[in-house]
Subunit: 193 residues, 2 copies
Amino acid sequence: MREPSPEKQEAILNTALTLFTERGFFGTPTSLISKKAGVATGTLFFYFRTKEDLIDTLYRRVKSEAAREMCRGLDKEKTAKDKLRRLGKNAAGWGIRNPAKLKFMEQFAHSPFVSTNAHEEGMSHFLFLEDLVRDGIRNGEIRDVDPSGLFCIMASALSGLIAHALLTDDPAEREKIIGNGLDFIWYGMKVEE
Amino acid sequence: MREPSPEKQEAILNTALTLFTERGFFGTPTSLISKKAGVATGTLFFYFRTKEDLIDTLYRRVKSEAAREMCRGLDKEKTAKDKLRRLGKNAAGWGIRNPAKLKFMEQFAHSPFVSTNAHEEGMSHFLFLEDLVRDGIRNGEIRDVDPSGLFCIMASALSGLIAHALLTDDPAEREKIIGNGLDFIWYGMKVEE
DNA sequence: GTGTAAATTGACTAGTCAGTCAATATGGTG
DNA sequence: CACCATATTGACTGACTAGTCAATTTACAC
């Protein structure tokens, strides 16, 4: 018997990731994906039942990887301030190391091509973030306003920050941009002295 | 002689706006646009040379309308703080009154289907915003960090804020969300006391 | 080796798309 | 009214697409 090849599946997923972000879902023919991935059309449909199944799998993977990376060492930090800063640095670091994945997530976060199921599963990985904000409010570090609103603005600001940091190639410059950006976010959230 | 009908052109543009935001560029056949707009296929191509030409025109229009609305009464405000707050309220108000246009702008702001020309023309309407931040830094209201970075995060935060405000139908609730969000943005920018 | 179950192939199908064009309808003008 | 430039129509074309499937190759078990 022959075994399915994880390398081929991976090649298809990676190629699709790049093409989808560059050209959009409908703008990317499955024929182009299989060609660039170095497999036949039929092979793509052996590993993924439909084109929708392909983007769904991609979405689930990228979203859970992003969440995993953002949590790194979060339990080592004590205060909400330190936790948020670590989180922000993790997110920025991952985004800068994986610009294509970041762009894919932004582009398909509200896309109808990704199934509702996959969207919900994706969101579930990030629920801990809202708890983090809630804890900060409870112990008086963060201003007492609607946590989900705060979390939402924070996420957008962070995403804009990473996009801006990606414009430069100089790592030192980047570090500075991210530091300033995280300051902006923290000053926006903390209680005034 | 017969004159071109602005109403027909408008109908095509409005229909295309809705369909593009709902289904994406490649997901929307020109046949569907013309059908829903109540004209024949040929008429669409009489007013717009290609499908690209159509989305380009749409992008230019929406972007310049958004910029125009955001500037409303800005010169009446004296301080950077007041100018930014007015700007934020204008932006939020426009976004809430025109959710489809807002979604269109977000979706195609970095899209390859819109020509580079149209993108540059779109950006040019918002350059005054960076000057506003620069002025605020000069007179000591805003923290002295890279203005383009500050502007970039501010724009993302604002966009996230509007998206979040759109989730509720209650105008009072909305007002509160927007107020809180604009506080977040201002605390992020201002110099500390 | 040999057998075999499963992976891989690519020509193929039925359907869809952007854009064309010859025919027709329309409205302004004199 | 009659004329005519032009706005409008929709059947049509050539190109392209998601997904199929019968034929072929591969890798593992014995």
